[in-house]
């Protein structure tokens, strides 16, 4: 007892006491809390907690442009009815929050953890009905056959290639806007982008492009444009086709040949240098 009282003025004493107190409170709560009721209301409670937390995150990070209630301002569009999928895409790929006003929000390292994104998504989803965050079964591509993936190529060329290039390398639009490169983009984000139409991209809702077709497009993109895509000849030069290849041949290949020829002819074979 004497030992204990001797240490009560130690600088860490307050923290130790606090930890004990917290552990005791939590333990007592766990022991005495009405377990059945907690189980029943668990999902609803978690949901409203997520919305509550999401609202706080939204107020700090998003409301300056999108308005305090998600109704939108002159600096940002209304988020009522965009759905959880739009939040997961925009914040998950780092596009939101936007770093600076500009033609288009670029992809950048994300600012929030997935848990925080889910909370914000829950809050935005509570403002109005919209597409939910897709599940693994919606965007997974393991079950697709080679034929279905090839059909995905046809779908990609019909619906997406005009902006994103034939193999999803991206391309320019008007006034500084652009269709981003799709190399190694997560299947989930491609799915969400198709469903929600982020920024200036049009959406492709399930009514015009059913879920399976989205998966086929995702599988096609993985096959032709990802870090483990096969390029039989190597050096695909951005996948832009004959223009890039011709440019390479004329601007790099030919000067190398001319240079070698000049070098061979210019070198003096004489025994005595003049």
């Amino acid at each position: 007892m004497k030992k204990l009282s001797a240490r009560r003025r130690h600088p860490l004493a307050a923290i130790v006491v606090l930890i004990f107190a917290l552990a005791a409170t939590g333990g007592l709560y766990a022991a005495f809390a009405p377990a059945g009721e907690a189980q029943a209301g668990e999902t609803a409670a978690a949901q409203s907690l997520a919305i509550e937390e999401g609202k706080k995150l939204y107020a700090v990070g998003c409301s300056s442009c999108h308005g305090t209630g998600g109704q939108g301002t002159s600096d940002g569009p209304s988020l009522v009815g965009v759905g959880a999928a739009a939040v997961d895409f925009q914040v998950g790929t780092g596009r939101m929050p936007m770093q600076a006003p500009g033609a288009q929000a670029p992809e950048k390292p994300r600012m929030y953890s997935q848990a925080e994104i889910d909370q914000m998504a829950a809050y935005i989803a509570s403002l109005g009905p919209g597409p939910a965050i897709p599940t693994e079964e919606q965007y997974g591509t393991e079950d697709l056959s080679g034929e279905e993936i090839a059909e995905g190529g046809v779908l990609f060329r019909t619906n997406c290639a005009q902006c994103h290039n034939f193999t999803g390398e991206g391309g320019a639009l008007t006034r500084g806007k652009y269709a981003p490169d799709l190399t190694d983009v997560d299947a989930k984000y491609i799915y969400e982008a198709l469903q929600t139409g982020p920024q200036n991209m049009p959406s492709f809702p399930d009514t015009v492009m059913p879920e399976k077709e989205k998966r086929q497009i995702i599988a096609y993109l993985h096959q032709v444009n990802s870090s483990d895509a096969k390029t039989p000849g190597g050096f695909k030069l951005g996948g832009y086709g004959p223009v890039a290849e011709g440019l390479f041949a004329w601007v790099i290949g030919l000067p190398i040949l001319v240079g070698v020829t000049v070098w061979v002819a210019a070198r003096n074979a004489k025994a005595r240098k003049s």
Binding site: N159, L173, P202, T231, P232
Partner: protein, 357 residues
């Protein structure tokens, strides 16, 4: 190839031939002060291989080595062709996931051809004769005798044929020669069928449903939401059909939905259905497919020459070389609630040229 430079430094002076005098005459003319005099050839210098037999042997071995490497590479080419399976892929930095067979075949064939070329160049530069040679040009004109003989023969022929005297023969002959090429011109008609009315009309007509190009199902108005983009083709067009490409090239349609109050052009609003507008996908400049749709600005951009159309304002051209707006298809809904065309495009689709007349 490095054997050319290597031995130069090691050559001792006594191996070199005596200094050769300048060409006779050169010095004399220079002395005369004629700056345009033919300077003649520079003095001939021997190569190390011309003087040193050991160096020549080294060059011979280098050339032979290059040829042997080429042989080995050719054998390697055949071996890779036999051994490596087509479906084998390997990762090679910085090439990426490449076909092992492609890479092996390209490498070996490249080495085989390069070594033959390099060997030939090295051979000619080090061992073949190194003496400078002068080859004079031949005169361009014929000899005087030949010229006069040819002119005499032509004059004799002209007299014998009486071409100058018999004017009737001469003129009819010119007429016949002038007409003959016309048969070739007439044959150009066979290059293809006449366009007739094909360029003025598309497959669209009143009552044809709009078929979703993705699902091949007829579209309903509620399928198309604001901000989405869909592509449609006329009902009855089979993708496997004989004339699919001819018809879709004219009939291709893009559908977007706008808020009716955003539509500025009264005719566009009139031809739309609940804000759904249907426009030709064929650019009016040179006929590229325009469908780079920006859903916030309602602009459609053509990828070929950046013509930009404002879909909220009758597809007016707001930028680029296109001559007139994209043709709009008038749409409505049939008894079963499917979107259908209310007629063909009012004007020919595609390049501006066909707007004439």
């Amino acid at each position: 190839m490095s054997s050319e430079t290597g031995p130069h430094e090691t050559v001792s002076d006594e191996n070199l031939p005596a200094e050769q005098g300048a060409e006779p005459g050169t010095a004399a003319e220079k002395a005369n002060g004629n700056p345009f005099a033919d300077p003649g050839l520079p003095p001939h210098d021997d190569r190390i291989q011309d003087i040193d037999e050991r160096a020549a042997k080294r060059s011979e071995r280098t050339v032979a080595l290059l040829f042997v490497v080429s042989m080995l590479a050719t054998i390697g080419f055949i071996a890779s062709y036999v051994i490596i399976p087509v479906e084998q892929y390997v990762y090679l930095f910085p090439l990426g996931h490449i076909s092992a067979l492609n890479f092996a075949l390209g490498m070996t064939l490249g080495v085989a051809l390069f070594c033959i070329g390099a060997g030939a160049v090295h051979w000619s530069r080090t061992l073949m004769s190194g003496h400078e040679m002068v080859q004079d040009r031949y005169p361009i004109g014929a000899e005087e005798d030949t010229k006069s003989a040819a002119l005499a023969a032509f004059g004799d022929g002209a007299r014998d044929s009486q071409l100058g005297r018999r004017k009737l023969i001469r003129n009819t002959m010119f007429g016949a020669l002038a007409l003959v090429p016309l048969s070739g011109v007439v044959l150009l008609r066979d290059l293809g069928p006449l366009p007739e009315e094909k360029l003025r009309h598309t497959m669209w007509e009143r009552g044809l449903r709009l078929i979703n190009e993705n699902t091949m199902e007829p579209l309903r108005p509620e399928d198309i939401v604001v901000g989405s983009l869909s592509f449609a083709m006329p009902e009855g067009l089979e993708p496997e059909g004989h004339d699919f490409h001819t018809e879709i090239a004219k009939a291709a349609l893009m559908l977007v939905r706008l808020e009716p109050e955003d539509i500025k052009d009264p005719q566009e609003l009139d031809w739309s259905y609940e804000g759904i507008v249907a426009y030709s996908k064929i650019c009016t400049h040179v006929g590229c497919p325009v469908s780079l749709y920006e859903q916030q600005t309602h602009h459609v951009l053509c990828p070929c020459h950046q013509s930009t159309f404002d879909l909220a304002d009758g597809a007016r051209v707001i930028f680029g070389p296109a001559g007139h707006p994209l043709p709009q298809l008038r749409i409505g809904v049939d008894d079963e609630g499917y979107l259908m065309a209310l007629g063909d495009f009012a004007e020919p689709v595609g390049p501006s040229f066909w707007e004439r007349g």
